[in-house]
């Protein structure tokens, strides 16, 4: 009985195949993972139209910066997915 068990294990070991190669999905660049900052508020008092203009322009800049991140994040994902799926 012990001999049969040994033989079975020995024969089954032939079925085991290790594949040590694993492709790792890359980490996103740090600049893309940063959180978009909150929009600025008008803090001065009294407020001149110039201060208001400044805050609005700064907020547009923040929006554009965030939009760049989103666009590039999508681009990054599409590219990396394509590269990752090519390893099959």
């Amino acid at each position: 009985m012990k001999l049969y068990a040994f033989l079975l294990i020995a024969l089954l070991s032939g079925c085991s195949t290790t594949v040590p190669v694993v492709a790792k999905f890359p980490d996103a660049p740090k600049s893309l993972t940063e959180k978009c900052p909150s929009l600025k508020k008008v803090e001065t008092d009294p407020v001149s139209i110039v201060d208001l203009h400044k805050t609005v322009v700064e907020n547009y800049t923040l929006y554009h910066e965030c939009a760049i991140k989103v666009e590039e994040w999508n681009e990054w994902h599409v590219k990396q997915k394509k590269i990752f799926e090519s390893v099959k």
């Binding site: 195949t17 492709a23 660049p29 600049s31 929009l39 508020k41 139209i49 554009h64 590039e72 590269i83």
Partner: protein, 171 residues
């Protein structure tokens, strides 16, 4: 079979071929070499041991061909993974550079707009008007005066600021 993965391919192939060739030689000697002085009365033992070794060698040969195929696949996959990693790294660097460049352009654009209005308010317009035609300059001066009048006479109502600030909040 997984134990075989620790041994080099060439070494394994040598061992298996040696067992097979040795067992074939042993079988030939076992069957036909009984009259040889070296073999003599051991012919039967050599024959059976060689047949057993031949079976083991054949099993190993089969297993080895599968193992070899897997090793080739692993090597090919390793090459692909290395290439993909290099491509991914390159893509990351490219995207990172593009983000930095685009952000720089956007910030610069915002800064220029703010500085432009500040110059108008402060009256530092020499640089702005130097390349303008007389007509353009007149039109520009009207706009500048309009801005300065608005600054003097039209304070921004507080409700506008409050509503602006509420809109800027995420909640």
């Amino acid at each position: 079979m997984w134990l075989l993965s620790f041994l080099p391919t060439g070494f394994l192939e040598f061992i298996i071929n040696a067992v097979l060739i040795g067992s074939i030689v042993g079988i030939v000697l076992g069957f036909f070499g009984s009259k040889l002085p070296v073999v003599g009365t051991h012919a039967n033992i050599i024959k059976y041991v060689s047949i057993a070794l031949f079976c083991v060698g054949l099993y190993w040969k089969g297993g080895f061909s599968v193992e070899k195929e897997w090793r080739e696949r692993v090597e090919a996959l390793e090459v692909k993974v290395r290439q993909a990693e290099a491509q991914a790294k390159e893509a990351n660097e490219h995207i990172e550079t593009r983000v930095v460049e685009k952000t720089k352009v956007v910030r610069e654009k915002g800064k220029i707009r703010i500085e432009y209005i500040n110059r108008l308010v402060e009256g530092k317009t020499v640089e702005i008007v130097k390349d303008m035609s007389a007509e353009e300059r007149a039109s520009f001066e009207v706009k500048q005066k309009e801005l300065q009048d608005a600054l003097k006479n039209c304070p921004v109502p507080r409700i506008i600021i409050e509503e602006h600030n509420k809109a800027a909040e995420i909640k």
